[in-house]
C-alpha cells in the first residue's frame, strides 16, 4: 500500500541515495524499517503471516514473550522507570489470564495486534499511516501518523498504544516517536530478514512453544496444518475481521 506522502518520501530517498539508509551526520543515521513503502515493497504478497497461540501450553507465570518484545522493540522501559503511569505506558503485547464463567477453567495467553485481514484501524486512519502490508502485517507508518488516536478508538483488541512522552535510547531496528501510535508489527524487520518474531523465539526458548508462527497462505506450513487439524478461535469473531492471530485451547 502506498500513498502520496510515502511516494514523496520514497522519491526523496531515491534522489538522495538509492538506499533505505541515509546518513544525516556522522553517527546519525536515518533508517527505514518495516512501516515504509520500501519495506512494504519487500513484503511478499504471496504470503500472509500469522500466529497460532496454544493457550494450553502457555504458562500463566511466564512473561518471556512480553520481555522479548520489550527488548526487541525498545518499549516498556518508561513505565519501569516510573515516568508514566501504567495507563499511559505502551503495551505492544500483554499476558491475560482468563476464567471460563461457566466451567471455571483457567487459561493464559498473550494478546497483541491481531493483524486483521479487514483491520478497522486501517479503515479509520485519516492519513493512511495505519496500514496493512501485502503480507498481512498491520502496522503504523510513524512518518505520517499525526497522533489523532482514531485507530485506538477503532481497535477491538486494545492492541495499540500512544507514545505519551519523549523517547530516548531507541532501538535502531524499531524507531518510535512521541505523539505517534504504535503496536505489534509482528517483528516485520526480523521477518524481512528471514527470522521469526521475538515473542515466538522467546516462547520456544522458554520451552513452551505456545506460539506458532508461519504463512497462512501456504497449505503446507505447520501453522496452516495445525489450523486445519485443531479447533481454533479468533478473538471477537463476531466482527468478521479475519485476524491473522488465532487461539487454540482457549
Amino acid at each position: 500500500m502506498t500513498n502520496r506522502a510515502e511516494m514523496t518520501r520514497r522519491d526523496i530517498l531515491k534522489s538522495g541515495a538509492a538506499a533505505s539508509t541515509v546518513t544525516l551526520a556522522p553517527g546519525v543515521t536515518l533508517m527505514a524499517f518495516g512501516g515504509t513503502a520500501e519495506a512494504s515493497s519487500r513484503a511478499d504478497a504471496g504470503k500472509r503471516w500469522g500466529l497460532l497461540i496454544d493457550a494450553s501450553k502457555c504458562d500463566a507465570n511466564c512473561t518471556d514473550c512480553v520481555t522479548a518484545c520489550k527488548v526487541e522493540n525498545g518499549w516498556g522501559a518508561d513505565a519501569e522507570h516510573g515516568h508514566v503511569s501504567a495507563d499511559q505506558s505502551p503495551e505492544w503485547i500483554r499476558k491475560v489470564t482468563l476464567k471460563d464463567k461457566s466451567t471455571g477453567r483457567e487459561v493464559s495467553a498473550p494478546v497483541m495486534c491481531q493483524h486483521c485481514e479487514e483491520p478497522p484501524c486501517v479503515d479509520v486512519c485519516p492519513t493512511g499511516a495505519s496500514m496493512k502490508r501485502e503480507d498481512g502485517i498491520v502496522l503504523v507508518d510513524k512518518h505520517i501518523c499525526i497522533g489523532c488516536r482514531y485507530c485506538m478508538m477503532a481497535c477491538p483488541f486494545k492492541a495499540r498504544s500512544f507514545v505519551h512522552e519523549p523517547i530516548t535510547d531507541q532501538n535502531v531496528q524499531s524507531p518510535r516517536g512521541k505523539g505517534t501510535v504504535e503496536s505489534c508489527n509482528l517483528c516485520a524487520p526480523r521477518i524481512d530478514s528471514g527470522r521469526i518474531p521475538a515473542c515466538v523465539e522467546a516462547c520456544e526458548n522458554a520451552g513452551h512453544s505456545a506460539i506458532l508462527f508461519g504463512d497462512l497462505k501456504d497449505p503446507e506450513s505447520p501453522i496452516s496444518k495445525a489450523l486445519k487439524e485443531y479447533d481454533s478461535v479468533a478473538l471477537r469473531a463476531d466482527l468478521e475481521l479475519n485476524p491473522g492471530v488465532r487461539y487454540t485451547n482457549l
Binding site: D87, K95, L98, K99, D123, C125, P126, Y150, F157, G177
Partner: protein, 399 residues
C-alpha cells in the same frame, strides 16, 4: 412598512466590549501556554491514556463543531425556509457558525500527538476514513458559509442567489454533522458507539446546542451595544429551542431503548443509566433533567425573556454533559474482548477505565471556546453583520 431595510452596523467598541475581549484574550493566552506545555512534555501531562484516548479537549471540540452547524440554522430558516423574522439574524448566524467550527477544530488540531504534521492530514487522504472526509467537510463548510455570508451582505444581489447559497450551506451542514456523528457511529468495536442513529442524533443535537449558543452570544453583543432585541422574538426563539431540546431527548430515548432491547448492549446501558457513577449522574442529572426537561418546561410553561435565556444556558450545560457521556463514557466502558470469560489477570481488562482530566486539557478546551467567541466578536466589530434594531415593532414591520 415602517422600515424597508434592516440596518447592519459594526459593533461599537464600548468599555464593555474591550473588557470582554481582554478576558477572552486571557483565555487564549492560557490555552496557548497549556498547548505548549503539553506539546513539550507529551500527553503524559494530561489525564488521557491508552484507554481513554480522547479526553476533555475532544468533548469541547465536538461540542463546538456540533454547535457550529446548528448556529447556521437561523440563517437557513431565514433564507431557505423563508421565515422573514429570522433574516436580519442570518449574517451573524453564518459568521458564528464559522467561528465555532474554527474554535472546535483548533482544539482537535492542537491536541494531535503531532500537531506539526497537520499538513499531512491536509494533503494525504485515506478515503475509507470518515475522519479524512471530515477534513474536507469542515474546510468546505467554512468556504461555503463564507460565500453565503458575503452573498447575504451584497445588497444589490438578486435574492434568489442568497437562497441558492443558503440551500447549499444547509445541505453541507447536514453532511458535516452526519460526518461528525459517524466518527462514533461507525466504530463497530465499542458497545457505546456502533449505531446509525448517532448521525441524525448529532444533527438534532446541533440544532439545539447551536441555537442556544446563538441566542446567548447575540444577546450579549446586543446588550454591550444597547441594541434592542424584542421580547416576542426572543420568546419565539425560545419556543424553537424547546422543540429542539425535546427532539434531542427523543433521540436519546430511542438510542437507549434500542440498546436495552439487545442483550449484548445491556452491560453498556446498565453502566450509563444505572451504575456508571459520574456518567450516570451526568446523563440523568445534567443531560436529561437540567439540559432537557427544565429548559423545555421553562419555555413552554413560562414563556418569557428570562426563561429563554435561562433555557439557553441550561441547554449548553446539558449538551456539554451529553457529549461528555458519549465521548468519555463510551471509552470508559470496557471492551469485551473475551466474551464468556472473566479476566482474572490482564491490563485494564473488563474494568471501567478511569479518567481525570488535567487542568491543561481544560485550558485548551476553554481556549477553543474563547477563540470561537473572540473571532465572532471581532467579526461583528469589523463587518456589518449585526442589525441595529431587533425590537418587536421593527421585526413585525418587516414580517
Amino acid at each position: 412598512m415602517a422600515m424597508e431595510q434592516t440596518i447592519y452596523r459594526e459593533l461599537k467598541a464600548t468599555p464593555g466590549v474591550w473588557q470582554l475581549a481582554a478576558l477572552l484574550v486571557a483565555f487564549l493566552a492560557a490555552a496557548g501556554g497549556a498547548w505548549f506545555y503539553m506539546e513539550h512534555h507529551g500527553h503524559v501531562v494530561t489525564g488521557m491514556n491508552n484507554q481513554i484516548v480522547w479526553g476533555l479537549p475532544h468533548v469541547f471540540a465536538i461540542f463546538l463543531i456540533v454547535a457550529a452547524s446548528g448556529a447556521l440554522n437561523i440563517a437557513s430558516i431565514g433564507s431557505v425556509f423563508g421565515q422573514t423574522a429570522y433574516k436580519p439574524m442570518g449574517r451573524f448566524s453564518s459568521l458564528l457558525a464559522i467561528t465555532l467550527l474554527v474554535g472546535g477544530l483548533a482544539i482537535v488540531v492542537l491536541d494531535l500527538g503531532r500537531a506539526d504534521r497537520l499538513i499531512v492530514a491536509m494533503t494525504t487522504y485515506n478515503f475509507t476514513s470518515i475522519f479524512a472526509w471530515n477534513v474536507l467537510l469542515y474546510n468546505g463548510f467554512i468556504a461555503v458559509v463564507a460565500v453565503y455570508l458575503v452573498m447575504q451582505m451584497m445588497r444589490r444581489l438578486d435574492y434568489k442567489w442568497v437562497k441558492a447559497a443558503g440551500f447549499v450551506a444547509f445541505l453541507w451542514r447536514l453532511a458535516l454533522t452526519t460526518g461528525t456523528g459517524s466518527i462514533f457511529g461507525w466504530l463497530v468495536a465499542r458497545p457505546g458507539y456502533d449505531a446509525a442513529i448517532m448521525a441524525p442524533m448529532f444533527i438534532i443535537m446541533s440544532f439545539s446546542f447551536g441555537l442556544a449558543i446563538f441566542i446567548l452570544v447575540t444577546l450579549t453583543l446586543f446588550k454591550l451595544n444597547d441594541r434592542p432585541f424584542g421580547d416576542q422574538l426572543l420568546i419565539r426563539l425560545g419556543r424553537l429551542l424547546g422543540i429542539f431540546a425535546a427532539a434531542v431527548l427523543y433521540f436519546a430515548i430511542v438510542f437507549h431503548l434500542t440498546n436495552l432491547y439487545a442483550t449484548e448492549h445491556g452491560g453498556y446501558e446498565r453502566f450509563i443509566l444505572l451504575n456508571g457513577g459520574i456518567y450516570t449522574v451526568l446523563f440523568w442529572g445534567v443531560q436529561v433533567v437540567l439540559g432537557g426537561l427544565i429548559p423545555i418546561a421553562l419555555v413552554f410553561l413560562n414563556p418569557s425573556r428570562s426563561s429563554t435565556i435561562l433555557a439557553s444556558i441550561l441547554v449548553v450545560i446539558g449538551g456539554f454533559a451529553q457529549v461528555y457521556v458519549i465521548v468519555i463514557g463510551g471509552q470508559a466502558y470496557p471492551l469485551d474482548i473475551f466474551p464468556g470469560y472473566e479476566v482474572i489477570e490482564g491490563f485494564h481488562e473488563g474494568v471501567v477505565n478511569p479518567y481525570t482530566p488535567s487542568i491543561w486539557e481544560l485550558m485548551l478546551g476553554l481556549g477553543g471556546v474563547a477563540l470561537a467567541l473572540f473571532a465572532a466578536g471581532l467579526g461583528a466589530k469589523v463587518l456589518r453583520v449585526l442589525p441595529t434594531n431587533l425590537s418587536d415593532a421593527n421585526v413585525a414591520a418587516k414580517g
